[in-house]
């Protein structure tokens, strides 16, 4: 039967790479396959030259397994397919507290005694990176994939007063800049996070893709009417996020607690008050992306604290550092003024717009407090005065 199956596949002679040779890859990969006759039967050389001599293979690897007989099943009830978490059965369900290999051994594979270290991958402890939801967030990221090119009704991004359009470009610049920084930061960690916790690495792959989409989606928003990119971020929070190489967990706190809460709140307001349908849709599309990052972050910090309760104080102190950096950025009026003009409807309505911004700031800080509390970090009494003020003023503005 097997032989028949193989012969049938051969006879079909389908080209496995057909889908790849359209559009942008033309020239490079098409040219690369010239002469190779992709998809047709490759003639077996009658008399191979010396470099092509066949050697009898060593088959000792056939018994090198830690868990033969595994049969992970797709979710046929809810339609979720074969998920990465569904593979964690039997031997492969064991996620060790420490992964001792500093190479790319897939978790559960039979380790080669001579593989050695290839450098990097120095975060080898589970508590330093793990979140139970990582695999689920990865699959969700894939299933919710979308495109700024085709899923946003860009044709509706028209007809705004010039001041509102420019204000949106300023907000877009800020979000684009933050997306770019987030991509850089997460990418710089990938070589240090152990492949033994592949669910986390898979999730982070979707995260850099998401943050890159925030970068390019808001660049497109800035450019769609020519307003372009305006003032860059003030940069203190960018620096604080970049300078978290003391640990991945500190990076998580930097990216997805205070800053992540700000991004999410801005996106929610743009989704609700976006002056055009394109602005609403663009923001609304990004909210689930940001929510997945928040879910991973909260789950990771909660589990890190559970595994290492001694770290709770250190994490809280790190949050204080981040709050100082973010407060320095928050003193800068550019983002708030631009949001006020965009959400209020123009410079002439900036006071009304600033009232909306006060509520936005309140919601941001409250969201941050809630997020930290969910992770096991109380910020109520530790919160600095700028944030206390935003809570108070926002509450007044809301009434």
């Amino acid at each position: 039967m097997v032989q028949t199956t193989r012969k049938t596949a051969r006879a079909k002679g389908e080209h496995a790479g057909n889908g790849a040779t359209n559009g942008a890859t033309n020239g490079a990969t098409n040219g690369a396959t010239n002469g190779a006759g992709a998809g047709r039967v490759i003639p077996t050389p009658a008399t191979p030259p010396a470099p092509l001599m066949v050697e009898p293979p060593d088959l000792s690897w056939m018994d090198k397994t830690t868990g033969w007989g595994t049969r992970a099943l797709p979710d046929l009830v809810h339609g979720g397919g074969l998920t990465i978490d569904a593979l964690n059965i039997g031997t492969y369900s064991k996620v060790p507290d420490h992964f001792p290999y500093r190479n790319r051994l897939p978790r559960g594979a039979y380790p080669s005694p001579i593989a050695g270290s290839i450098g990097g991958y120095y975060l080898q402890d589970k508590w330093e990176q793990w979140a139970d939801c990582a695999g689920q967030m990865y699959e969700e990221g894939i299933s919710r994939r979308w495109s700024t090119a085709t899923d946003v009704p860009w044709e509706t991004a028209t007809g705004l007063p010039d001041d509102v359009e420019i204000a949106l470009c300023q907000v877009a610049t800020e979000l684009s800049h933050q997306g770019s920084i987030e991509t850089e930061v997460v990418c710089s960690w990938l070589q240090n996070l152990s492949p033994g916790y592949h669910e986390v690495k898979l999730f982070l792959a979707t995260n850099v893709y998401d943050s890159a989409r925030m970068f390019e989606g808001y660049r497109k928003r800035g450019m769609v009417n020519g307003g372009g990119m305006l003032f860059e971020s003030p940069g203190r929070m960018n620096r604080a996020v970049m300078e978290t190489f003391s640990g991945w967990t500190q990076t998580v706190l930097g990216l997805w607690f205070l800053r992540g809460a700000l991004q999410l709140t801005i996106l929610r307001y743009l989704a609700a008050y976006g002056p055009t349908e394109a602005d609403s849709v663009l923001a609304a599309r990004m909210i689930p992306d940001r929510m997945r990052a928040a879910a991973y972050a909260v789950d990771h910090i909660r589990q890190a604290i559970a595994a290492r309760p001694d770290q709770r104080v250190a994490f809280a102190m790190w949050l204080t550092n981040l709050e100082l950096a973010q407060a320095a950025d928050a003193k800068d009026p550019v983002l708030w003024e631009a949001l006020a003009v965009a959400l209020g409807g123009g410079v002439k309505q900036i006071d009304a717009g600033m009232a909306i911004v006060r509520r936005l700031q309140h919601d941001w800080v409250q969201s941050y407090i809630d997020r930290a509390r969910s992770a096991g970090l109380e910020r109520g009494t530790d919160l600095g005065r700028p944030y206390q003020a935003m809570l108070a003023e926002g509450a007044t503005a809301a009434t």
């Binding site: 057909n18 002469g35 190779a36 050695g116 299933s143 090119a149 800049h177 860059e232």
Partner: protein
């Protein structure tokens, strides 16, 4: 509207309007320094037919200008307005355009976005059926190998993205899409290994060593030559042979979809080399030296990223899959086909290098002489 800049008269009228608005706002205590139209204001991108608003279409004026050398150390989006007091957070080592640029990176990125797929639901897992033990073991060994090497192709670009100025955001965006693709690849091959009554098999030590060579590259183009031209090119040749070593529709789908992704990655490497060879001809000899190393790996079969490398479990697994069994006759047949696969890898490598603009090495005696035996056989 065509992406032309505004006429002077229209811009003057706008300036007057802004002056009025600024005065209004500042009287109320706002600064509004940001409320200034950029030189492209009021222009619109020309949309590509049917493809939506694409990255390659949006930039114009100062925003389209990817400088030959970047002094952007604050990570700001290209063309944005710098702040004098912004901290310099970007310790970018890739700040010279030729070091990473290619002409179609934005197109490759958008194509990647459109061609994303899900290993959970886009593979017909229900078509997996029980296979003879030796076939299942071979499938699982190959899947273990591919899971392992896909970590390389995801993690290493990540490092270089962080090292590259955002003034060259187009190649960065493509590399980000590659990280996403490679995550899906390591995921789908792990799923294959664990979905049909088998399991992960043996780590390929050679792959770890070869991966380290890619990790260790000190220059982006050197890394790209090792990863995109050599490593992924070799794997692409294998994926394109997927029909021949598949035993069910699930495996065919895996190889077909993975090949689609890999072809973009290889295209990136080829197009980057092509750009560099034209923009920085003084680097051609250096690039040739990287190709010398790659070809040595090809002819002695030492490239650890290559599943068809002789003497490795993955090569033996290929022989079993291609021959249809583990008895001596089947292995002999499969090994012969595997050799043909290696010939094909060499032929495709030669063609890629020619497209990249370094084909002179095949005419002036620079290329490894043993390549000719593969091509001629």
């Amino acid at each position: 509207m065509a992406p032309d800049l505004l006429p002077d008269a229209a811009r003057d009228a706008r300036v007057e309007t802004y002056a009025h608005l600024l005065e209004y706002g500042r009287e109320r205590g706002y600064k509004l320094d940001w409320l200034t139209p950029r030189e492209t204001f009021g222009t619109h991108p020309e949309a590509s037919a049917g493809g939506g608003l694409l990255l390659q279409d949006i930039d114009r004026g100062v925003f389209a200008d990817a400088p030959d050398w970047s002094d952007n150390l604050t990570g700001r989006p290209r063309g944005s307005l710098a702040r004098a007091n912004a901290p310099k957070v970007g310790n970018y080592s890739v700040r010279t355009k030729g070091d990473i640029w290619l002409r179609n990176a934005a197109q490759l990125y958008e194509e990647a976005v459109q061609r994303q797929w899900s290993s959970a639901v886009d593979i017909p897992w229900d078509t997996l059926e029980e296979l003879p033990d030796e076939i299942e073991r071979a499938e699982c060994q190959l899947a273990t190998f591919l899971t392992e090497v896909e970590f390389v192709a995801g993690d290493v670009p990540g490092k270089w993205i962080a090292e590259t100025t955002p003034d060259y955001y187009e190649p960065r965006m493509f590399l980000i899409s590659q990280i996403m693709d490679e995550a899906r690849h390591l995921d789908v091959f792990r799923k294959r290994a664990l979905a049909n009554g088998g399991g992960l098999l043996m780590q390929t030590s050679n792959a770890a060593l070869a991966g380290a060579a890619i990790d260790s590259a000190r220059d982006f183009t050197e890394m790209s030559a090792r990863l995109h031209i050599s490593g992924e090119g070799l794997v692409l040749s294998i994926f394109r042979m997927g029909e021949r070593m598949s035993y069910n529709e699930a495996e065919k789908a895996i190889y077909r979809l993975a090949a689609s992704d890999e072809s973009r990655h290889v295209a990136f490497g080829v197009m980057h080399l092509q750009y560099l060879s034209q923009a920085q001809p003084e680097r051609r000899e250096e690039i040739h030296s990287y190709l010398d190393e790659i070809e040595l790996g090809l002819v002695i079969g030492a490239g650890g990223q290559n599943p068809a490398t002789r003497g490795t479990p993955s090569n033996a697994a290929l022989a079993i899959l291609l021959g249809g069994g583990a008895d001596s006759a089947a292995i002999e047949e499969g090994a012969q086909i595997a050799l043909a696969v290696r010939q094909r890898q060499v032929k495709e490598y030669v063609q890629r290098v020619k497209v990249a603009g370094f084909g002179d090495r095949f005419e002036n005696g620079r290329a490894n002489a043993a390549l000719a035996q593969y091509v001629a056989a």
